[in-house]
Assembly symmetry: C2
Homo-oligomer: 197 residues x 2
DNA sequence: GCTTAAATATACCGTACGGTCTAATTAAGC
DNA sequence: GCTTAATTAGACCGTACGGTATATTTAAGC
């Protein structure tokens, strides 16, 4: 940001947005390294210099992509949480948000969690990897917070970790299967776990 | 395979093996797309033509890498299973094999499950992706088989899926954290789940 | 309507990629 | 010791990569 000033909102379909849209689609469905700058600008219908006027480098674009996917999920989660009536439903809203996000991508090639896939392409110390780690810890933190309405802090901790593993594990398997069905399975397992505990 | 015939065993440190060794290390720690052919042959101490005499292409090398990692895990699992004394221990042997495999990589940069990371780099219909899917289903099948000694087929099915999610989820989170600790956490959660059920 | 900034097209840069060719060398099998 | 196959070094290929330079056009703000 910074220099855009008064132009902050920008007109509909600004170069910045179209680029990030196209990059997000390609990064998710084809992978990051497999997606070249030229493919992005072609799909965005934009000049190459417009990309480099809006993003410092490809890896800056990747960072924006990662942040955006996490923000998308947070928005989906906020919607689900707003209509959840009980503590258990508020916990399951996290699973619902995962399902919503997955079903967004299902039509045009579901390949699992975009953040985990991105991290898998990044080297060990990369900033993007750390960002993904933080996002996943945030999700577990949300789970823990909601669980505190149900049980002791100690059990909330353990259960939050357990549910996070169910979430990420089912997402990994669902991505391999190419369909979000397994996410419903993990939601059901979580629901069962919460009612028996 | 096929044409090697009498030379099947090959001498120690054959080009084929040194190439696959080097490629496996690089693919795992740096990622597949980020690892060039030149980096592999340099690390293997081998001529470029030796690579193409042993592997048809880079993606053939990737397939060999995927198969090899799965075979490594199967071997670790077989060892763990052989000394497991009870049905529960035989189930936890699957978790132990995951831990063993992870700790192999911990010294030189732990980045989670090599198979899942590889799949994350492959396009939607790729053969390697399907291979990874099959391997993960095989692991779940092993869990289901061991669980049949403990409970009904229906509950074994559900529990196998549950344990598989715990496994893969904890592996994903552990990879992001850069340390295998969370695998011990999921093993403990699994043990608890098995004793209370 | 003038100014200022964003976005454009196009040519270009060096480099690295996956992969091939050739010719020479090494080593194993009989 | 001869044959046969594996391995080697190194030049080479076309292509695609991420990124830059420049000059021009488009469009928004006042």
């Amino acid at each position: 940001m910074g220099t855009q000033g008064r132009n902050s909102g920008q007109r509909r379909g600004s170069a910045h947005d179209r680029i990030l849209d196209a990059a997000s689609r390609r990064f998710y469905t084809e992978g990051i390294a497999a997606t070249g700058i030229d493919a992005i600008i072609t799909e965005a219908g934009v000049a190459k210099m417009s990309l480099y006027n809006n993003f410092a480098s490809k890896s800056a674009l990747v960072e924006a992509y990662v942040e955006r996917r996490h923000a998308e999920w947070l928005a989906l989660y906020a919607t689900r949480r707003a209509t959840a009536a009980s503590p258990v439903e508020r916990i399951l809203a996290v699973f619902d948000a995962y399902i919503d996000h997955a079903e967004d991508a299902y039509d045009h090639g579901f390949r699992g969690c975009g953040l985990l896939n991105a991290a898998a392409e990044l080297p060990a110390g990369d900033a993007g990897r750390h960002a993904v780690r933080t996002h996943k810890e945030e999700v577990e933190g949300i789970l823990r917070g909601e669980l505190l309405a149900l049980t002791t802090p100690e059990r909330a901790d353990a259960l939050a970790t357990h549910l996070s593993f169910l979430l990420e594990g089912s997402m990994a398997r669902a991505g391999l299967a190419g369909a979000p069905d397994l996410l419903h399975t993990s939601r059901a397992l979580a629901a069962q776990l919460l009612t028996t505990a």
